[in-house]
């Protein structure tokens, strides 16, 4: 359980995941933020107005999946690195998972990395499609991973090969 081991349960996740039907229409943000803490940068970062305004700073983010276009602007503003973008339409067999990443080395497009789940366990391999690391992101890179579709709700981290 999250409060005991830092790993969100399937029940935790069920409350924040977009419906299948929305996933089938392209990239969308998933805010894996399960605790009422005083924090609201995600709301201010969203140009689509897809994160509901906070009436109390301790509220959890509520993503309007219809307004969200999966741009990922919120990802590098979240102090908890808790927002991910998933694009289930990437190809017939693969989905894209965009991951906020603050470790070195930052991988390069084309590289194969080890895909990791929320518990820190290796679940397979992923291909780096693109790396966004602009000045506006302020040292939180966003790494686009292509993963087998059945892993798109599992993969939330990765390890660069040959680096511990």
């Amino acid at each position: 359980m999250l409060a005991q081991n830092g790993i969100p349960t399937p029940e935790d996740l069920a409350g924040v995941l977009p419906p299948e039907e929305r996933l089938a229409r392209g990239p969308v943000a998933i805010a894996e933020c399960f605790q009422n803490i005083p924090c609201d940068p995600c709301y201010h970062s969203c140009k689509q107005g897809a994160i509901k305004e906070f009436t109390d700073i301790n509220q959890r983010p509520q993503v309007d999946f219809e307004k969200c276009n999966g741009c990922g602007s919120c990802m590098s503003r979240c102090p908890g690195l808790a927002i991910f973008v998933v694009d289930a339409t990437y190809s017939d067999s693969e989905a894209l998972v965009k991951i906020p990443y603050e470790f070195l080395p930052i991988p390069e497009a084309g590289e194969t990395v080890t895909a990791i789940n929320r518990a820190g366990r290796e679940v397979g391999e992923a291909r780096v499609i693109r790396v966004q690391n602009t000045r506006a992101q302020d040292r939180t890179a966003i790494v686009w991973l292509a993963v087998p579709k059945d892993l798109m709700m599992e993969v939330r981290h990765f390890k660069v090969k040959g680096v511990r």
Binding site: A3, D40, P41, N58, C78, G80, F103, I116
Partner: protein, 358 residues
């Protein structure tokens, strides 16, 4: 003897905000810090802060420190004394400060104490071996000096500091074997915890360190599970091969000057130990002495900055300085502080503060 309108002891987030806000109203300020830089603990906070936009959420502590320190240095009303240690405060209202082996007597009309906190430690066999560190020291080594404290770390304490320092160790290329926490729940914000767990660091709640191993330095640690009465469960011992044991078991306010000044103090566990009683203006029981930040109760840097701003405004206002927006500015900061403390994670602070009001 130097005379000044406001002396501020401590150049961390609270002291910097106090100096800027007092100077903004026109007060002449001496800002005293024992380090050779300003910013206090902010200078090692490489992670993004929580909070609201007005409280600079999502910015990194290191950047906030730089910006506030630049503003302070540029202010004509603020005289900065670094490498200067406040040694004592005496009945006649004189603050003694040692700087570069010289003693200065400063007589301020108002005094703001923003000395922050000190780390607590933990008793266990061999806790005096080299390799047993406080989390603050580890963070200084890694984030200020670029020095790895060792190869493999056992982190004791899953509060925000323990979890954040673990993350920063990983960023520095140091392995973290595990984070252990005696309490039944993770104290850190869960998003921080999830971040280190997916990076491969397990968190064991209801676990404590039984002993450190090693002769000349740490070579390992024994960890044991605790039952519901916080007693070790025999047979649950786990061995960790680590060369660093990092203690992140809480902070306590650094209140020596307040005791010496005769401020009425109260023991409030929720605020980290003995804290000064204060009124809503952050003034202590000794008129003219204000407090802000961790010295008034262990909290977050964003709260320290807001308390500092309030103490700075209030101290300057008590000297007659004012602006048209003073009332509004104060109310805004108070409303932000209240928002920050209003949620479930602020419950402990609210409970603590309720016991510390004059």
């Amino acid at each position: 003897m130097k005379h000044t309108e406001i002396a501020i002891v401590g150049g961390g987030p609270a002291g910097l905000a106090a100096a800027l806000n007092a100077a903004k109203l026109g007060a002449r300020v001496h800002l005293i810090d024992r380090n050779d830089y300003l910013g206090g603990q902010l200078i090692k906070q490489t992670h993004r802060f929580f909070g609201s936009k007005e409280q600079r959420a999502s910015e990194r502590g290191i950047d906030i420190a730089r910006e506030l320190a630049n503003q302070v240095t540029a202010s004509k009303n603020i005289q900065v004394m670094t490498e200067a240690t406040a040694l004592g405060y005496y009945e006649d209202g004189v603050l003694l400060v040692e700087q570069h082996k010289k003693i200065f007597a400063i007589k301020p009309e108002r005094l703001i104490i923003a000395t922050g906190g000190a780390e607590k430690t933990l008793l266990f066999p061999n806790n005096d071996l080299p390799g047993v560190y406080g989390a603050g020291a580890v963070q200084t080594l890694v984030n200020v000096f670029g020095v790895k404290p060792g190869k493999r770390v056992l982190m004791v304490g899953a509060g925000n500091i323990g979890v954040i320092v673990s993350y920063q160790l990983l960023q520095a290329g140091v392995e973290v074997a595990a984070i252990i926490e005696a309490a039944p729940r993770i104290g850190a914000y869960w998003v921080h915890a999830s971040k280190v767990v997916r990076a491969g660091v397990p968190i064991y709640t209801r676990h404590t360190i039984q002993r450190a191993h090693g002769h000349r330095e740490v070579t390992g640690a024994t960890v044991v599970q605790l039952d519901e009465n916080w007693q070790p469960v025999p047979g649950t011992e786990k061995e960790f091969d680590v060369d660093v044991i990092c203690l992140s078991v809480g902070l306590t306010p650094l209140t020596e000057l307040l005791w010496q000044a005769g401020c009425r103090m109260v023991f409030v566990p929720e605020l980290g130990g003995n804290v000064p009683l204060r009124n809503e203006h952050l003034e202590t029981s000794v008129p003219g002495i204000y407090v802000a930040g961790d010295v008034a109760g262990i909290e977050e840097a964003s709260a320290a900055m807001m308390e500092g701003a309030l103490a700075g405004l209030n101290a300057a206002a008590s000297l007659g300085y004012t602006t048209e927006s003073l009332g509004l500015d104060r109310r805004n900061i108070l409303a932000q502080l209240e928002g920050l403390r209003s949620g479930p994670v602020g419950e402990k602070i609210r409970k603590g503060l309720a016991q510390a009001l004059l």
